[in-house]
Amino acid sequence: MESASVTHSPALERPASLLASGAGWRRRAKDRLMTVLIAGAFALAMIPLISLVYEVTKRGIPGLSLAFFTEDARGVVGEGGGASHAIVGTLVITGVAAAISVPIGIMGAIYLNEYGQGRLRRALTFFVDVMTGIPSIVAGLFACALFELFFGPGIRLGVMGSVALSVLMIPIVIRSAEEVLKIVPNHLREAAYALGTPKWKTIVKVVLPTAFAGLVTGVMIAIARIVGETAPLLVTTGVVDSMNSDPFHGRMQNLAVYAYNEYRSPGVFKQAAYDKAWAAALTLIAIVMLLNVAARLVYRRYKTEIR
């Protein structure tokens, strides 16, 4: 082999001896510096998160009591009362929002991934992307305007809050469901088609069960995302002190608005009100954490290993 005619760049020079070529102190120092910087950046990113959880826990625990979970604030002027109406309200409003968003979101994802083609699909994807960026107050005002068309101004209902939250939740469900459906390998669909299965049945009986764990996780994360939205609920569900679990009649309290209210108008017994606000915030964080943990457990239990 003619090596004389080939000029090597200095970077490709072979070291005289491999044993003597070990990483010099310069490179090791650089490695260590980068490790420290990266770990430091991670610690920096963790600080606000940890301090937040710490603060909310520290200030929220004094507000927690049996009364907090079992009593509402009906007729309460003093220190007593609880937030059971807010907790039930959050669960009901979020539940109805999920009931609206999940079918629409999953069917939308199925359309975009399995049926959509060409211009219509691109247009729909564009609109879904736009919807993920809608400010939450805009969603709230939309729900307000929609219901005021039918029921007149000043209407406040639990289901209005659900509709506003759905507007925020649907694009999130569509996006994550679409990603999960894309992961289902095409050869499974082909296996079903080759057996003479119609397309819709392939989707219902093969694609969706295979994607099930991912779909559930995506939905739970979407719920965790909207469970603490305050702005749309401020304008749609109203403020009320008594328990109401019917989303279709009357105002409904929820944890986010409750916390806001207690903090803004604490009344005479300031400290008790502040305590209750923090306790409501702590409860919200606990709900979000429970949903995330449940999502992970469901995923681990139901995921299908696709070879």
Binding site: L195, T197, V206, T210, I306
Partner: protein, 295 residues
Amino acid sequence: MLGAATKRSAAEEGKPTMTGRPAGRTSTEPVTATGRGAKTIEARDVNLFYGDFHAVEDVTMTIAPNKVTALIGSSGCGKTTFLRSLNRMHELTPGARVDGHVSLDGEDIYGKGVDPVEVRRLIGMVFQQPNPFPTMSIYDNVAAGLNLNSRRVPKSQKDSVVERSLRGANLWEEVKDRLDKPGSGLSGGQQQRLCIARAIAVEPEVLLMDEPCSALDPLATLAIEDLISELKNRYTIVIVTHNMQQAARASDVTAFFNLDATGKPGHLVEVGATNEIFTNPTQKQTEDYVSGRFG
């Protein structure tokens, strides 16, 4: 020319072998004669396109019933594309188009008003990579054809169909005690036999196989080839294979596809009895290919 290719005699079937092949159907159990019976496929002037790209040109051939027809040729010459046009899977690719005439037992499968889903029920397919449904048990995988085809079948009938199909695929003895376990827990060769069982459970008239052994080890390949020679008694079989020795061993009729150059459409060069194609081909291209001079 091809001294390596061996043809097993009929006397060897059923005897335990030294190679330790998985013992399938014992020789005392007869092949049950159920099913619709094997049918003929006629292809006439078939041209296949992916969008504007002309992939396969002017294929005319007859696929005879109760015979194994092998499609051979080098990579990219259109064998799989042509195979997929026989059960209307080609058109599932966006932009794909079929020109020409393909008929099953005299009926045009691309005719107006023909439901492709019905065609695929009659012409089954087994793929290169075994693809059992991961969310279903072995039992449900085999019965998938029944479950997914909106036929309400009573359980007892389903049980007998599953058993018959697994016996037909030489898998029954190995899985009869774990029918409720997931299909993905089997070895590659077992998975492919499961896919074959799944395909024959719906009683097709033709079975198409796209390189069914290319992802399997030699022992598993042997088991599948034995299976194919049993199955041809009940079905018409078309198999695409890269492996010339396999075509020589396992098929009755061989069709050789070739490309003139990359970018040109693939076309059928020659089709005939396997013996003739491998020992006495009429086209020079065929002779070059089967003697290993290219491809």
